[in-house]
């Protein structure tokens, strides 16, 4: 069965870049969300075994998404993909349950590395 992957970013270009960086040999079913509200809806619909999450977004930002899914059940491997490279931002998202923080732009190798540790390969 394909792995449900959710890509959350307010920028369509950023989503496209991330999807392009997904390893070509992975069997994935990609869903896209343009803000946190859409992301939560897709998450609740079971479309996010893996979630790539931007932080700076209108409507509902990445921190708020993490807080919401942590309250629910945290049934997703969340990789935060952000331009905000402050050390404190990285600490915060990990405290909120993200498995990794990678800075934009993301490479295929980084995706393999962070998710490989969780058995996704």
């Amino acid at each position: 069965m394909s792995l449900p992957v959710l890509v959350v970013d307010d920028s369509a270009i950023a989503r496209k870049m991330l999807i392009k960086a997904l390893p070509a040999d992975w069997d994935v079913e990609v869903t896209q969300a343009g803000n946190g509200v859409e992301a939560l809806a897709a998450y609740r619909a079971g479309k996010a075994s893996v979630m790539f999450l931007d932080l700076t977004m209108p409507e509902m930002n990445g921190y708020e998404v993490l807080e919401a899914i942590q309250r629910e059940d945290m049934n997703s491997l969340v990789v935060v993909v952000s331009a905000d490279i402050q050390p404190l931002a990285q600490q915060r998202v990990k405290a909120l349950g993200a498995i990794a923080f990678v800075k934009k732009p993301v490479s295929t190798e980084q995706i393999r590395e962070v998710l490989g540790q969780y058995g996704v390969r």
């Binding site: 307010d10 920028s11 369509a12 270009i13 950023a14 496209k16 870049m17 392009k20 700076t56 977004m57 209108p58 952000s82 331009a83 905000d84 490279i85 402050q86 404190l88 931002a89 800075k103 934009k104 732009p105």
Partner: protein, 206 residues
């Protein structure tokens, strides 16, 4: 001159590029101030030069009283950068930077010039590098062009020889502090066209 606006793809690509550059600038600012910096979603407008002042007022807030630092930049893209500090920013800043006395005018000026220089440099170099246009960028020395002035006095269309302006607005604010500032990047029509070509290249590569 006839002027073709950016497509939504161009705006999206530029916004993402600015976002990444802003992240670097915020990290530099956080390093200096030792506090967490909140980032905004960058806002981008292309306006006729006559409307540039109004666009800035809308982005920054009509009734804001600000101190403004200006710096121009030249590479294969050229334009103006403005950093606008709110009225109460300085006291908090001086405290964060460990200065005792912000009332001393020289100190205050130096602080604002230094921070502007840091933000403008990090942001513009970040943008130019991503569109592969960053070699040989030069900056003028930062100078204060308005002190505790209303924002409507800031951008005077008659003082610009431009027909159109690309306006990029970023907001940096600190947690648990009153301080916030806007960074505005203004670019004239030649730079708008050059940037369009650079963005085409970025878009083609995705």
């Amino acid at each position: 001159m006839t002027f073709v606006p950016y497509s939504s793809d161009h705006v999206d690509a530029l916004q993402e590029i600015v976002n990444v550059a802003m992240g670097r600038a915020a990290a530099a600012l956080a390093g200096v101030l030792g506090t967490f910096v909140r980032l905004s979603v960058p806002r981008i407008r292309i306006v006729a030069a006559a409307d540039a002042g109004r666009a800035v007022r809308v982005l920054v807030g009509e009734h804001a009283k600000i101190t403004a630092v200006r710096q121009s930049f030249h590479s294969d893209l050229a334009g103006e950068a403005l950093v606008l500090f709110g009225e109460d920013g300085c006291t908090d800043l001086a405290d964060l930077m460990g200065y005792d006395d912000c009332d001393e005018p020289g100190m205050q000026t130096e602080l604002l010039l230094d921070l502007s220089n840091l933000l403008v440099g990090a942001c513009l170099c970040g943008v130019l590098e991503q569109v592969e246009s960053g070699s040989n960028v030069s900056f003028s020395a930062p100078s204060i062009i308005a002190e505790r002035a209303y924002v409507h006095a800031l951008v005077r269309p008659d003082a610009l020889s431009w027909t159109h302006s690309l306006v990029v607005e970023l907001n940096f604010s600190l947690e648990h502090r009153d301080f916030s500032c806007h960074l505005l990047i203004l670019m004239p029509e030649e730079a708008i066209e050059r940037m369009r070509a650079l963005l085409d290249r970025v878009l083609a590569a995705v």
